[in-house]
Every structure is written in C-alpha cells, then in structure tokens.
Symmetry: C2
Subunit: 377 residues, 2 copies
Amino acid sequence: MTTSSSQVAEKLVHVPLGERAYDILIGPGLIGRAGGEITSRIKGRKAAIVTDENVAPLYLEALTDALQTDGIEVASLTLPAGEKTKSLDHLAAVCDMALAARIERNDAIIALGGGVIGDLAGFAAGIVRRGVRFVQIPTSLLSQVDSSVGGKTGVNSRHGKNLLGVFHQPDLVLADTDTLNTLSEREFRAGYAEVAKYGLIDKPDFFEWLEKNWKQVFSGGPARAEAIAISCQAKSDVVVEDEFENGRRALLNLGHTFGHALEAATQYDSSRLVHGEGVAIGMALAYRFSARLNLASPDDAERVEAHLKAVGLPTRISDIPGEALPVERLMEAIAQDKKVKSGKLTFILTRGIGQSYVADDVAASEVLTFLELQKAR
Amino acid sequence: MTTSSSQVAEKLVHVPLGERAYDILIGPGLIGRAGGEITSRIKGRKAAIVTDENVAPLYLEALTDALQTDGIEVASLTLPAGEKTKSLDHLAAVCDMALAARIERNDAIIALGGGVIGDLAGFAAGIVRRGVRFVQIPTSLLSQVDSSVGGKTGVNSRHGKNLLGVFHQPDLVLADTDTLNTLSEREFRAGYAEVAKYGLIDKPDFFEWLEKNWKQVFSGGPARAEAIAISCQAKSDVVVEDEFENGRRALLNLGHTFGHALEAATQYDSSRLVHGEGVAIGMALAYRFSARLNLASPDDAERVEAHLKAVGLPTRISDIPGEALPVERLMEAIAQDKKVKSGKLTFILTRGIGQSYVADDVAASEVLTFLELQKAR
Ligand SMILES: NC(=O)c1ccc[n+]([C@@H]2O[C@H](COP(=O)([O-])OP(=O)(O)OC[C@H]3O[C@@H](n4cnc5c(N)ncnc54)[C@H](O)[C@@H]3O)[C@@H](O)[C@H]2O)c1
Ligand SMILES: NC(=O)c1ccc[n+]([C@@H]2O[C@H](COP(=O)([O-])OP(=O)(O)OC[C@H]3O[C@@H](n4cnc5c(N)ncnc54)[C@H](O)[C@@H]3O)[C@@H](O)[C@H]2O)c1
Ligand SMILES: [Zn+2]
Ligand SMILES: [Zn+2]
C-alpha cells in the first residue's frame, strides 16, 4: 500500500452529540501530535494504551513518546491480534491494567489498533470507575471509517458477536492515515467494504464515485482521505440521529446480519474470513435477497456484486475458503444475532443502490429458502 | 424479626428521571404481584432471575410462579451469597445465562436478593445486548433503602470495591417488606446504618425521629415502612439532581470512604464485617474526623456514635473482630478508592447532624494522623 498522504490536507468531522460531542481528525502524522490533541481536550494526565501484537511494534513507541512529551503518564497493554481478543477475559485484563495504572475519571484509555482493540478498549473505558475518558486511534481502514465512530463498544460471547457491551462515546478520534501504509491489502479491502456500505445505504452518488475512483482510494492520496472523511460524516449523521440504536441506526447493519452469521459459522477464524469480508458477502446477499423478494432489481444486485468483486472482495458464501458452511448453522447464528425483536427477524433490505431500509418482519422461512438457493451458486 | 406488615399501606416513590423514570413500590406481598407490575411496565415476556443461595429457597419459587402466572417465561441463576459474588467471573455467568435464555432488549433481568445480587444483576442488565430492562426486587433492608435505587451497578476488582460497573437505572423496584422477616438481626442492623445515613447527610429531623423510633423500625409495622419510604425518597432526590455522580450525589458516600477501606482491609470477609457495619464505623469516623478538624462539635460526634451503638452497630475500628487492621493498609485502600480525583482525597465531612458536605481537598497526612489516633481508642 503506498500513499502520498503528506500532501493530503487534514480533515475534521465533528460529531455533535451534546455533552458527548467530539472531533474526528483525519490525516497524516496525527500520532506524533496525539499529546497536544489530547491535553487540549481532556483534563487528566494519565493514559492507558491498549494495542495488539501487530500494531505495537509499528506505532506504540511513537505514540508513547508523543504522549510523554506532552506530560502524559503512560501505561500500555499489548494483546494478541484478532477477533478472539474481543472476550470478557481480555476485558478483565484491560480493566486491571487501567486500574493498576490508577486511571481516574478524567484520564483516558486509548485504543491503538483496529476495530477489535477499539471495541474492547472502549468497553473497558465504559466500565472502569463507571466510565473514564476514551480516545480512539484507529489504525485499520475499517476502524477509521466505522468502528471508531459512534460509541458502540463490546466483546463477543459464545452466543454470538458483540452481545456484551456498552454505548460509550470517545472524547476524540485520531485517524492517522499514515498508519494505513502498513496495513495488508486484504485488511484494507475488508475496510473498504464498510466504505462502500455508506454508498449502498443512502448515498448512490458516493457509490458511483467509488466505482470510478476506487483505485485511487486503494493507492492513497486525496481520494483516500476524501473517502474516509465522507464515511465518518455518514456514520456521524446516522449516530447523531439515533445514538442508542432504537431505529435508523440499524441501517448501518446493512450486510451485517448475514455477515455476522458467516463470521460465527467460521468461528471468527480470520484465515477464512475477516469482518469486512463477511460484510461484503453480506451486502451482496442482502441485495440478492431483496431482488428475490422483488424489492430491488436484479441489475442492482449485479452492480453491487460487480464492484465488490472488482476490488477483490468475496461476494458469495462459496468464496469462503475451507469446508462448506451448513445452512442450519447460519440460520442458528442469525436467530441469536441481536437484531431480533420478540422472535421476528430484522433485516436491512434495499429497493436499489442507496435505498436501504430496516425491515423488521422478515420471515425466517424466506431467509432459509434463500440461503438454500445460494448453495447452487 | 417480626412484623405487622399486612397492616402497612403500600407506598410509592417515583424517581423522575425523564426517559429513565421509574417507580419504587414499598409494602407487603409485592413478590406475589410481581407479574402484573412487570407486564404493565415492560414489553418483553421473558425474564432472567438472578438470586443467591440464601434467598432462593425462601422466595425464588414464589417469584417464578407469580411471573409465570402472568405469562412471563422464566430462567434463573442462583449464586453463592456474599460480597465475593460481585466479581467479573460471576458477571460472565449471569450474562451467559441471560443470553442462553435469549433475553432481548425489552425483556428483563431481575435481581432477587440483597445489594450484592442487585449490583451484579444490574451490571449484567447494563451490558447484555448493550442494555436490557432491569427489575430490582431487593430483599435486604440495605438494598431496599439504598442499593436498589439510583442505577449504580458494579462488581469489585482486586484494586478495590465497585471499581467496574455502569450506570443503569432499573425500570421498576419492588421492595417487598415481607421479605425482611427472614433477614438476620445483624443484616437488618447493617441496612439500618444506611437509613441513619440519610438523616446524617441532610435530614436532622429524620435522625431525631430515628433516635426516638428505631425500636419500632426494628420490630416492624408502620414505622418500618415509613423509614424505608423516607430513605428511598431521600436517595431519589439526590440521584435526580446528579444521576451520574458529578457532584452532590457523592454525599451518599458519607461513611463510605472509611467503610470501603475497612471492607477491603478485611478482605470482604462477612464474618468480620458486612457493608452496613463498615458504613456505621465509617460514619462515626467521619463525624469524629470532622470534629478533629474543628468542623463539627464533639457533641455531635458523640450523639452519632451513641445512636449507632444503641441499635447494636459497631462504631470503632477496634469493634471489628479478628486481628487488628494496620493503618497503612487502610490508607492504601483509601487511596485506590474511586473518590480520588487527580491525586487529592475526596471525603464527605460534616458541620453537624444533617450538615454533611463534599470536601475534595483533604490532605492524606491528616487522614493518616487521625487513623493513627484511633488505635488508642
Ligand atoms: N463498534 C463498532 O461500531 C464497529 C463497527 C464495525 C466493526 N466493528 C468491529 O471491528 C472489528 C473489526 O475491525 P478491524 O477490521 O479493524 O479488525 P482488527 O482490529 O482485527 O484489525 C485487522 C488486522 O489488522 C491489523 N492491523 C491494524 N492496524 C494495522 C496497521 N496500521 N498496520 C498493520 N496491521 C494492522 C490488526 O493487528 C489485525 O490483525 C470487529 O470486531 C467488528 O465487530 C465494530
Ligand atoms: N448500587 C448501590 O448504589 C449500592 C449502595 C449501597 C450498597 N451497595 C452494595 O450492596 C452490597 C451490600 O448489600 P446487602 O447488605 O444487601 O448484601 P447482600 O446482598 O450480601 O445481603 C446480605 C445477606 O443477607 C442475605 N439475604 C438477603 N435478603 C434476605 C432475606 N430476605 N432473608 C434472608 N437472608 C437474606 C443474603 O443472602 C446475604 O447473605 C454491597 O456490595 C454494596 O457495595 C450498592
Ligand atoms: Zn461492520
Ligand atoms: Zn452503602
């Protein structure tokens, strides 16, 4: 992954959530400036950094130095990389580290890493002393455009993904675009699935722009920072309208009901599937399912699939390497997914590109039949 | 403990917290009516009851029957009794039970027991699916007058008490006064310490009333329900003013900084000290400390100690059975207590009976000297 990020102007997206409002800064070199950005916004002078084994060797020292330069006392914990780290056991370890470091209400827990670290560290920040300050320094594309914004935190349970957590908004998000230079192509693509998602939810023009400009987004430069900023703004808009997910926010789950089921059925084994890949397949399925229900045109479903394929993302269940996934296992995972209300299945369906909506009355039998059909493809 | 509760009229205290407003019902026979009270307030028809080994044999069947009669599907988990149950491990067990029971956002987790069960179950209700409904059925005096109201939930850490948790208000509190008939004298007394606390914070008349009427509160009857209702109202008033403990709510910690330190130093061993006993000693210490600082008169400190003694509560560190507690251990526990901001000690001090206030600049050295002096007493 190459980038010409130093020519990219910094972007700011403000998330206007009243008492919980915060800034998202997007641009190069932000880790080096983290100390000043934090001390100008947070009273405490202690920080507990949570990161993972891939990210620590790349950025932990630079961040620690930057914080110490501005007089912040730093403790840190480096955890294994991967979805399995989002567990109650690791949550306990993070909380213990923060308490040992005597993090108080006005001090910060800092997430330095992808969405796994962000979700875990944010959960800890939400429960240590019933809430301490929280700073996101997302280093994967997925976390820069999605998970670091909006305050959803959590860990997985044996019953499903993200079933335990709290809403705890960050006080600051620093999306340092330089960090994307060390991200693998595969992870960059996975994050791109969430970028495309914003277009598919309600921004047909953005989707069209991506169809034309995706190569520049991948190669870095102004188009990349532009895509990240548009994505953060899109997420912010939805979150501000529905902070606690009682309605519209569910739209952000486009592709996620299927996606989460695929992740669960592959036991969160990242060698087979990572979150964004699950979302890519899930979005393709959501469009195909909507076409099957005569809601969207098959052409739109084709167009979505074509674009995701062009960037190298999987779009079919059979694209997942390894043993075939039994439909029953997927149905079970879907039923336990948290977007189930009083027994009925809630799905994000669509009437076309950028015309998604929340359907809360989807019959399980329809889903089952649809999934059975996918086996033949 | 005897009671004439059937003659006591039911009392209602409403906690006006906007979207999070709820009712506290106080009176006899409420467990038998739990189904109707819940179904009229909560949409879901599933409930996960959390209780402990002392309370389960007494009330779990009655509650289960009452809920099932009103069409609520019930799952339950019975945990060991005692403060050690407030741990992340038990939290994981409660969450797992609730998820296995497919508790969704509109279903309820129900706490049936004392403050330990309430704090633990409430924490679980705050994090399962990022928040499900929560019903408190407090069965100890302490939980009826204090812990079941106000939305503070949590568990202990090796670094100190209640260091992990969330604010999660209940949707309903059912304080069934009949359950107090099976509570031990010792636990009833411990709960009484929190009743007296409300008088000592800012209700000198209530404290005076208690000095005259405490025997009737202990023996049951109208004075008992009256004292519980006044206590709930007092707690509600403070919580409504400062839901997230940024200021005035800290007053409820009168006696608790010392109390928590004593609990920690005795390793939460209930054979030596239970929470309310720690609070009783803590309040006596807070008044003596305030007298030593020339804030309150020694007469007031004497009066507080005399009343607590009269009802049979401990008032001195040396009243705790077992080996003497080193002052250093207490200081360490105080320093790690969560009412510490940027290094300074926050204490609730007092200018007299019912004249408590938050002091956030108490020098550690003063506390140390004061505690050293207590050894001689
Ligand atoms: N909270 C939310 O709103 C939200 C939204 C979307 C996704 N998520 C969660 O986010 C998680 C997925 O996030 P993710 O894709 O970032 O996963 P991740 O955190 O596992 O990161 C992906 C991989 O990239 C590595 N990595 C991260 N930054 C790097 C860098 N700069 N250089 C080299 N390697 C780097 C990580 O070590 C990891 O191996 C899932 O758990 C998902 O549930 C949460
Ligand atoms: N959340 C808050 O705002 C808040 C406020 C004050 C205290 N607390 C917490 O509450 C806890 C103390 O509460 P507690 O004193 O109720 O402790 P507890 O829950 O341990 O109950 C005390 C004992 O009484 C038993 N018991 C309870 N009800 C009974 C009944 N009806 N009959 C017979 N036995 C019964 C229990 O099994 C236990 O052995 C502490 O953990 C404290 O930190 C929380
Ligand atoms: Zn996602
Ligand atoms: Zn208490």
